[in-house]
């Protein structure tokens, strides 16, 4: 008898159908992975179980939880179930906790509500729970506020809240997406342990096949509100019977073809080629927030004396945890930020000096592609104007010539020249990322800095963009500085890699060498923690 | 019986010493109630004995001998005698005096103490109005011990003593049980300061205030008159409301222009639109209540066609533009709009400039920087201002000055009235200012209250005879 049985669940919001005939079942002690691309209905399925759906939702079918029909239960009954028998962990650890209440209060609140325990008892149980999720109260007193914890720590608190009363079912909706790989691994370990020791059922929602492969007993694959594929985890992923499952799995391990050989520093130096970009002892700092009216603590050093070269046509990867200084380095190279010291020579131009003309000249050859395909365009301008923006530095070009260049850039990224008259919101996420690349290309740059260009995209679209980047490199000889925290992507596309930690490089070298035989402990941690479908399947 | 009364007054006095400020608001509280002079002005403008029980006037009219009352005490317990009179008069006319009406004392040559109950005042030359002058609030008798503190704690000899002043809100006086004369009926009177008509009406209707001696009643008058709870008394004031004209500034230096303005003014309409709808038309600068008054409203009757003709004759066939500065009272701000619309009808475009009193005093009165303005001259019997050379009308007529000089030297009442008549005619014919109406005094009080003044020969609220009838 399943603990949770969803049968033919249908959901419409307003007049829009969201879920169709969703059927799932979870046994106690079982981990069910629910995967699918963004917008496929994973979260709303989970929220249906909690009955925390948005206003205007209409459900059909049935959700049976341990004998209770959830869709028909009274609100009071649901309140009794929520938090006590069913716990839930949400994706965003930064916002999932009430900022004005202590973590102790927030954990104890549910305990007191459901067990009627006294304040002291509840606090004691909250402390135990903190201990269990790896936040000993000796170091993390219950009186802390959420903002005094890091993202990973906050996610532990959210898990502590969800598991405080030993729920029979835990729903975890993308519990690790917002976290660094190393922390992600720790959280997943924690969840796995909790399931094992309490024989809890876990509904794990994710879009990352690597994660489910290592965690789930069974997997359900979802798309457009429907369950397409469903079955035991390892066979489902190995055999990939359903075409959509196959597409997902292949896309996540996609390696773009490349025509030439990788360009490696060693080889280039041996040929005595001049680097396109030379960075030496670069230091970038931020003024620290002012404390008091007159005192200012010393500035925060985000980049602490790094040196490296990039050669024409080379794809250099920059990896590291969130906040280690990757974007800061990129902004500095682009001349958007003045370094505190060090030299930056691009194509023979010294751009660290603050010399406006040098920076302007360098900018013609230097472009950027950002992570967020939605935020990188002014929503009020047409594509033509947006893509032409870098041509601002080429006043000598006439209007017709500019249009011509925009058209060619659009075609280069697989869009049509006719798209120039549209607005960005008329494009999908993947198309927008192509637009961003077109904008970077329009000036025929020698170096493109790509700051997490694919991390916001679904796996299948991600594969297309990687192919495009690779193709452009081969056709135009463009060099990339490719920033990412996704090691599989780096491995697929890049020649060399720089591993950054707290503003410094801890390791560098050809991609395969570094990832297969990491020498620095940090790199080892990083590679070990990265979820990887193939490896997970191999281990299974 | 009830023996307390709450009165509403429009303006808060700046302080309470009538010998150190011009504000009528001071007299409205303390005159005849707290302070007394040698003489006092009665309800119809007559001169009555006060601290001087009687007096003798020498043959040449230059020496006045006052016989003072006995057993008079100031509120602080000090006695009153001839020394206090000498002190008060000398203080008022001293060089460093801050008395606002120093002119009242200008003719005094010497003040002598004959004995504690007798004072002899010698004038430089005979002055017909001397006894009247001594009845002004500015001429009350103060004690040397308390003269300096009267602003805050007025100490006089009157039937009421000062009790409390909640600044901005109210002033309270209480019965003086040691008064030399008849005891007053009221044990306590509170002067509540209520500047706006908007607030005065509800205060009256709700019974918070039982008496408004000068009520800014405006158009609510009809309604209040119809209410049997209230007595409404419409009396006259000394306030000649005039369209003051800058007689030296072109084109107003042209008699024809001034005459044209006079013909253009429709007094009935101005009165109807002056904010209260009340007032007596006047044709000159004199109170219709005065026995010397001459009705000159017919000198330049309302006749817009004639006004236009006069303007054309003066060289302004298409009229001209000028400014009209309006001080805060409704008679000016509202009346000014009616005046402007009437003058527009004959071709004179007026720009209305509202000014606060302070600016009016500075710009109009002191610097004579104005074309036209509307103001009510509330000082009693003040036609003499037309003889003052630096006065803001900028009027200068030797004939008029002569009449005034004669007047000063005359004490025979019939002759004086005759001279006053001449003076009135001269300024009326010269159309020095636009003479519009005598400001009405609307007194409203509880119907059960009696003894309030009906007219206002001086701006005062004499409470000595006021009592509740039930």
């Amino acid at each position: 008898m399943a603990l949770l049985a969803i049968r033919d669940l249908g959901l419409t919001i307003g007049r829009q159908p969201i879920l169709k005939d969703v059927s799932l079942a979870i046994e106690p002690g079982e981990v069910l992975g629910l995967v699918g691309e963004s917008g496929s209905g994973k979260s709303l399925t989970a929220l249906s179980v909690m009955r925390l759906l948005p206003h205007g939702s209409v459900t059909s079918g049935s959700i049976d939880f341990a004998g209770t029909e959830i869709l028909a239960a009274s609100e009071a009954r649901m309140c009794a179930l929520r938090g006590d028998d069913i716990g839930m962990v949400f994706q965003e650890p930064m916002t999932a906790l009430n900022p004005v209440k202590t973590i102790g209060e927030q954990i104890a609140e549910g305990i007191r509500l459901h067990t009627g325990a006294s304040r002291a008892e509840a606090a004691a149980r909250a402390a135990q729970m903190m201990e269990r999720v790896g936040l000993p109260v000796a170091d993390f007193p219950l009186s802390r506020f959420p903002h005094q914890l890091s993202g990973g720590q906050r996610q532990r608190v959210v898990i502590a809240i969800a598991c405080a009363l030993n729920p029979r079912l835990l729903i975890a909706d993308e519990p690790t997406t917002a976290l660094d790989v190393t922390i992600q691994a720790q959280i997943l370990d924690l969840l796995r342990d909790l399931v094992r020791e309490r024989s809890m059922a876990l509904l794990l929602i994710t879009h990352d096949l690597g994660v489910v492969a290592g965690m789930a007993d069974r997997i359900a694959v979802m798309r457009s509100g429907e369950i397409l594929d469903h079955g035991p985890a390892v066979p489902l992923l190995r055999q990939r019977r359903h075409p959509y499952t196959r597409r997902l799995a292949e896309a996540s391990a996609h390696v773009p073809t490349r025509r030439g050989a990788p360009i490696l520093d060693r080889a280039a130096r041996a040929e005595a080629r001049r680097p396109l970009l030379e960075v030496r002892e670069l230091v970038v700092q931020y003024p620290a927030a002012r404390r008091g009216l007159f005192r200012r603590p010393p500035p925060f050093r985000a980049v602490r004396g790094v040196s490296f070269d990039i050669y024409s046509g080379q794809t250099m990867a920059l990896v590291g945890e969130s906040g280690c200084g990757k974007s800061t380095l990129a902004r500095t190279i682009l001349g958007l930020q003045r370094p505190a010291s060090g030299t930056l020579v691009f194509d023979g131009l010294d751009i660290a000096s603050g010399d406006g003309q040098a920076i302007a000249a360098a900018r013609r050859e230097l472009q950027i592609v950002f992570q967020d395909p939605y935020g990188s365009f002014n929503p009020r301008h047409r594509v033509e104007r947006l893509v032409a923006e870098p041509l601002f530095l080429r006043p000598e070009l006439g209007r017709a010539e500019k249009q011509e260049r925009v058209a060619r850039a659009l075609e280069a990224v697989g869009l049509s020249a006719g798209d120039a008259a549209k607005y960005p919101h008329e494009f999908s996420g993947g198309q927008r990322q192509r637009l961003a690349i077109a904008r970077a290309l329009v000036n025929r740059p020698k170096l493109i800095i790509a700051d997490e260009p694919v991390s916001a995209l679904d796996v299948s679209i991600r594969a297309q963009i990687l192919d495009l980047l690779s193709d452009l490199r081969d056709r135009f000889g463009i060099a990339y500085l490719f920033i990412s925290h996704d090691l599989s992507v780096v491995r697929a596309l890049c020649d060399e890699v720089l591993v950054m930690r707290q503003g410094e490089f801890v390791e560098r070298g050809p991609v395969d060498e570094v990832f297969d035989r990491p020498s620095h402990p940090y790199t080892r941690e990083l590679t070990a923690a990265a979820p990887d479908l193939e490896r997970a399947l191999a281990q299974a | 019986a009830r023996d307390t009364l709450t009165l509403g007054v429009v303006l808060e006095p700046p302080h309470l010493d009538p010998t150190a400020g011009a504000a009528a608001a001071i007299d409205e509280v303390v005159y005849a109630n707290v302070f007394e002079g040698l003489t006092r002005i009665g309800p119809s403008g007559e001169v009555l004995p006060a601290l001087a029980a009687s007096w003798d006037i020498s043959e040449d009219g230059k020496v006045y001998t006052f016989h003072l009352r006995a057993n008079v005490k100031f509120h602080d317990g000090t006695g009153f005698d001839a020394d206090d009179v000498k002190f008060s008069l000398d203080r008022a006319r001293a060089d460093d005096s801050v008395n606002a009406q120093k002119g009242l004392f200008a003719q005094i040559d010497t003040v002598e103490v004959v004995d504690p109950a007798t004072v002899k005042v010698t004038l430089k030359q005979p002055q017909g109005s001397f006894l009247y002058n001594m009845g002004w609030g500015d001429a009350v008798i103060v004690a040397p011990e308390s003269a300096e503190t009267n602003k805050d704690k007025p100490v006089g000899t009157g039937p009421f003593r000062f009790d409390n002043w909640a600044k901005g809100s109210s002033i309270t006086i209480v019965r003086n049980d040691d008064y030399w004369g008849d005891k007053v009926a009221l044990a306590k009177a509170e002067f509540r300061i209520i500047p706006d008509a908007a607030a005065a009406i509800p205060a009256l209707l709700s019974g918070d205030v039982q008496c408004f001696p000068f009520m800014p009643v405006g158009d609510a008058l009809a309604q209040i008159e119809a209410d049997p709870r209230f007595t409404v008394v419409i009396g006259a004031t000394e306030g000649e409301t005039i369209l003051s004209t800058n007689n030296k500034k072109p084109p107003f230096d042209n008699l024809k222009v001034r005459q044209a303005i006079a013909h253009a003014l429709n007094r009935e309409e101005i009165i109807a639109g002056n904010g209260s709808g009340l007032g007596t038309p006047i044709g000159t600068h004199f109170s219709p209540g005065n026995e010397a008054y001459v009705d000159l409203t017919g000198t330049y009757p309302y006749d817009p066609e004639k006004a236009k003709a006069l303007l054309a004759a003066a060289g302004f066939p298409n009229g001209f533009k000028a400014t009209l500065k309006l001080p805060p009272p409704a008679y000016a701000r509202d009346g000014g709009q009616v005046v402007a619309s009437q003058l527009r009808a004959v071709g004179i475009e007026l720009e209305l400039i509202p000014v606060e009193w302070a600016d009016w005093l500075e710009q109009v009165f002191k610097n004579k920087d104005y074309d036209l303005t509307i103001v009510s001259h509330t000082e009693p019997n003040d036609i003499g201002i037309y003889a003052r050379k630096d006065y803001y009308f900028n009027y200068d007529n030797p004939d008029f000055d002569k009449v005034m000089a004669d007047l000063d030297a005359t004490s025979d009442q019939a002759k004086r009235n005759e001279l006053y008549g001449q003076a009135q005619r001269i300024i009326a014919e010269d159309a020095v200012n636009g003479y519009m109406f005598q400001l009405a005094k609307v007194g409203v009080w509880d119907a059960k209250l009696e003894g309030m003044w009906h007219n206002a020969p001086v701006q005062a609220n004499d409470l000595t005879k006021v009592r509740w009838t039930e």
Partner: protein
């Protein structure tokens, strides 16, 4: 926390100082001579000059500013030109009306607006929500002085429930005083309450959409408890901000309302003083009102820190 508080305090003081310079300079350029005004239209020039000297109006500007500001620090606001009593006395007497009025209306405002806003947010989309929001929309549009006029005629003149205006003074006991302030406070508070209830509602709705509300619901907390325990405190920050701004409106509003109800408060005083050119009183009252606005905003800033622990660390 203390550092944050100290910081806000310093900024507040600096603002106050700049404000004092502005006020003083504005009053400097005012036309009109207080001495002449005091003495009236028939006074002689000598008397006016004597009085100017006596009042210290002939000293240089900077000296007078320093004197003024220095006096203000030790509580000496000088003497009123027209009343010739210490300004402090005058102002204290008036503040005893204006301050209770402002506080009473602030209380009324919060007591009415915040529950209404929460109620509407909790019942979002219901008929009750629509009705309260429609009423509040009208409330926002009503000028408080017009509302005051309507109130006076309804409650004081027709129904005779409360005095039409005026102030009996606190010496008569707290009740008559409060009764006199009731209508003015209502007139002042209600239009502002309409604004605040709308702000409260939308702040609550914003907060109710936050992730942590979902977390709280997932714990099994019923809706009402989520509202009170989790949403309210977070919604309080925008509400406090608006409340701080509203205090400035209330202060300005008292000036008008005191004129409608002829309350002897600071608002009346300032009008009187301006027409009488009693500069020193105008300066002091404006400074007092400005200071109270700055202080209230300081209190709001500090209460942010009480509501929001993130600011305590800063």
């Amino acid at each position: 926390m203390t550092r944050y508080a100290l910081n806000r305090l310093l900024v507040g003081l600096a603002t106050l100082l700049v404000a004092s310079v502005i006020v003083f300079s504005v009053m400097e350029i005012l036309p009109g001579d207080p001495a002449r005004l005091m003495l009236g239209i028939n006074a002689t020039e000598d008397a006016v000059v004597a009085l100017r000297q006596q009042m210290g109006l002939d000293q240089p500007v900077v000296l007078r500013y320093l004197h003024w500001i220095g006096g203000m620090v030790v509580g000496d606001l000088g003497r009123s030109y027209t009343y010739s009593v210490p300004v402090l006395e005058l102002v204290a007497e008036r503040a005893a009306v204006s301050l209770p009025l402002a506080i009473l209306s602030l209380l009324l405002l919060t007591v009415v607006a915040i529950p209404v806003g929460i109620f509407a947010a909790a019942r979002r989309g219901s008929a009750a929500d629509a009705a309260t929001m429609a009423v509040s929309q009208i409330g926002v549009a009503i000028p408080n002085f017009w509302f005051a006029l309507l109130l006076v005629y309804l409650f004081a003149v027709w129904l005779r429930l409360v005095p039409a205006g005026g102030f009996p003074g606190w010496s008569a006991g707290p009740w008559p005083g409060l009764k006199a302030l009731l209508l003015p406070a209502v007139a002042l508070a209600l239009p502002q309450a309409a604004i605040l209830s709308r702000v409260t509602r939308s702040a609550m709705i914003d907060v109710l959409g936050e992730d942590y509300i979902r977390t709280a619901r997932a714990k099994g907390l019923p809706r009402a408890q989520v509202l009170w325990r989790h949403a309210l405190r977070n919604a309080l920050i925008p509400v406090l901000t608006i409340l701080g701004l509203q205090f400035a409106y209330l202060i300005a509003g008292t000036i008008i309302i005191e004129n409608v109800f002829y309350l002897p408060g600071l608002g009346r005083l300032i009008f009187q003083a301006i027409t009488q050119r009693d500069l020193i009183v105008v300066e002091s009252v404006v400074m007092l009102l400005v200071a109270s606005v700055i202080i209230v905003n300081l209190i709001v800033d500090l209460s942010y820190a009480i509501v929001d622990p993130r600011l305590r660390a800063a």
